[in-house]
Symmetry: C2
Subunit: 137 residues, 2 copies
Amino acid sequence: MFARIDHIGIAVEDLDAALALYERDYEMVLVHREVVEEQGVEAVLLDVGENHVELLAPLGPDTPVGKFLAKRGPGIHHVAYQTTDIVAELERLTAAGVRLIDETPRTGIRGSSVAFLHPKSSGGVLTEIVQPSHEGH
Amino acid sequence: MFARIDHIGIAVEDLDAALALYERDYEMVLVHREVVEEQGVEAVLLDVGENHVELLAPLGPDTPVGKFLAKRGPGIHHVAYQTTDIVAELERLTAAGVRLIDETPRTGIRGSSVAFLHPKSSGGVLTEIVQPSHEGH
């Protein structure tokens, strides 16, 4: 059972131009900025109530987000659902027949534990499961 | 200021196949099902905490969601942010220079008031503003 939508991940060409929209026009509060080398992105998190928007700018054209932008342009890249026990959730999903990209959780933004489901099992939607590093974040 | 992510809208070819994934495997609770003729979709809402997933199946190939599926395949179609005063929010966004598709709210799923922003103003992300018909729904 997922507790909430943790975030939507949005692929952008230019982080500062996107921040002008999300911070200034949408009045969302920037709470975190981090280069995630492993995923080839610079990412920022903005608060929307208890949910977040994660803006993702690629570190280069050969990264997953770089390829996404080249193919589809800026837009919604993935959705992440929040859980309080990612290991149990991945076991439950596997038992239900859902294929995983990450069989075991890895470290995501802001010290969270994350895993991606395989798009072939998730109706074409890139779907991430997130356990925040501290409850409520 | 948006209160939370109200929902993500996901375009699907087959509503019942998608429900098997979202209800059975993801354990989300189906709370509403409605044909929205004006938007050319049959839509279902599932609860994810205080957020929702909205699955959208087109009523025909010439509808917006039908064209989206033909071009991009199943996937995330839009994001909707929740507000308690959509009229004030649209005025504020217009003053900030954001272009709107809907200058005045129209009726969305489950009696909500909704308006779409113009993708040219929203970084390529189809973005909807929602005021639920009853606070908290």
